[in-house]
């Protein structure tokens, strides 16, 4: 059974979904399996935002090479998000600063937000799912 078979195409309801990514990739499965939920949510034509904060910013690093740990490199998927109409990618400024990172280090174009704007964005969502 595939996820695509069970789409509820007719509901017509569009909600604001925020996916909050707070964990580095590979140490745990949350980043990878979280991404799968994001793609399915977009297929339901929902209003999707992805937020990268805390160690979640490490998910977007350029130059990720997983050959040595023998697991799948899913970082290219972030570059494919645009093709799924997922264009709202937000990164927390303070999380970048605390890890010595700048936008140039990231594999995709993102909007870097100060904490108060990020907080307001979160507060206005219908559904927040954290991975």
């Amino acid at each position: 059974m595939s996820d695509m078979d069970e789409m509820d195409e007719g509901s017509g309801i569009v909600k604001k979904f925020m996916f909050l990514n707070r964990k580095a990739p590979h140490g745990t499965v949350y980043a990878l399996e979280g991404l799968e939920v994001v793609l399915i949510t977009a297929a339901f034509d929902q209003d999707v935002s992805m937020v990268f904060t805390d160690d979640g910013v490490y998910q977007l690093m350029k130059g990720i090479d997983t050959k040595g740990i023998e697991v799948k490199d899913f970082s290219k998927t972030y570059r494919a998000l645009e093709g799924y109409d997922i264009e709202k990618l937000y990164v927390d400024q303070a999380s970048m600063d605390a890890r010595g990172l700048t936008e140039d280090d990231l594999i995709v174009d993102v909007t870097v937000l100060p904490v108060d704007e990020m907080a307001n964005l979160m507060a206005e969502q219908d559904v927040v799912i954290s991975f």
Binding site: R22, A119, A123, Q125
Partner: protein
């Protein structure tokens, strides 16, 4: 908005991340290991007390009791049972679990 934190503040940074992004007037519910932050003498107690000026802080009673901390809850922290947890989710338009 309701923020739910389940990690001990002396082990992980989830509480700090939550308090940073919780807007004025929102609610923070501590469950599981996170409840220890709301007890007197805990290293995170000052953070909780400072946050209580702008946020409503709740702690889940059964989790406090299960950790032997029911008698040490900070002033300004509201202890709720599971019924209170359900009510908090119902009363707020959205919620975020800081896993």
């Amino acid at each position: 908005m309701l923020h739910i934190v389940n990690k001990s503040a002396t082990e992980r940074s989830s509480l700090e991340s939550c308090l940073r992004m919780a807007t004025k007037g929102s609610a923070v519910l501590l469950i599981e290991d996170a409840v220890c932050a709301a007890t007197s003498g805990n290293a995170a107690a000052a953070k909780i007390q400072a946050a209580a000026a702008d946020l409503k802080i709740y702690a889940l009673g059964p989790d406090l009791a299960a950790r032997g901390m029911a008698g040490r809850v900070l002033d300004g922290v509201n202890v709720v049972d599971y019924g209170g947890f359900v009510d908090l989710v119902a009363e707020h338009s959205n919620c975020q679990s800081w896993l």
